[in-house]
Symmetry: C2
Subunit: 149 residues, 2 copies
């Protein structure tokens, strides 16, 4: 039995391994996880899977186009399965939570900066910064709130 995921890995020119399958599966239900979070998730099924090995796998999958890596300022790199569309991200300035944001503009106006100084633009990356619902609530009820340490 060859799964959809196995085919996808092979089609990307990579060998199919348990580690790669496990990493992709971990990110399926847990987008925007960093290497450490991916590692801890995968360890459930592959005890002894080290953080360094996680980086090797994440880099291979990212290089093959099976994962997308985002690097918001101030947080370690995060990875996601959603690679085939041009979406952006909101990052919470309070807790670092990340969510996807579909660009509202059909014509991708963000791809047309005014002056590019001679640069040939290939992609535009938009990061929105703000407060997630949880952090909004926290900032409105600072007294009754018990903040986790």
């Amino acid at each position: 039995m060859t799964t959809e995921l196995e085919t996808r890995i092979r089609d990307a020119g990579l060998r199919v391994t348990g580690q790669r399958l496990a990493v992709l599966e971990a990110l399926e239900g847990f987008p925007h996880a960093d290497a450490d979070a991916v590692n801890r998730r995968v360890q459930a099924s592959l005890p002894g899977f080290s953080l360094q090995a996680t980086y090797v796998v994440l880099n291979a999958l990212t290089g093959a186009g099976l994962l997308r890596r985002i690097e918001p300022a101030g947080s370690p790199a995060r990875y996601e399965r959603r690679v085939d569309d041009n979406h952006h991200h909101v990052v919470c300035t309070g807790c670092g939570a990340v969510e996807d944001v579909d660009c509202v503009h059909g014509a991708a106006p963000c791809l047309a900066p005014s002056s590019t100084g001679g640069f040939t633009i290939s992609t535009a990356e938009v990061t929105f910064w703000g407060l997630c619902p949880d952090c909004q609530a926290r900032s409105q009820h600072p007294i009754t709130d018990t903040q986790a340490e």
Copy 2:
């Protein structure tokens, strides 16, 4: 004699020191420099100015709003004097060169994502990725080109 720069530092609530003046002056003519580049530039006038001290000064100035820090994926943090407008950046995927880009959209459409998942958006950061003129030239003449190591 009190210079413009000294006033600006004092008005930001900071004490005026030679290190802070030197860092601001270094970034005046050399925007988007990273900590190491700033340090090397300042050492010309302040021999013995360490990288760690550079970080302390950069953080103080950034915290006081006198500098803006940008952190493009894959490169160390960079600093610039231009803090009072909402401009964006182009980063060269070949060599990492950074240039300013004024947002072409008067109404800042990038600040209005379609769905924010409950987030309250405060700022939008746009990073354009592409090839700088030098790297374009290099990729068109790969044979005759001598690449620096």
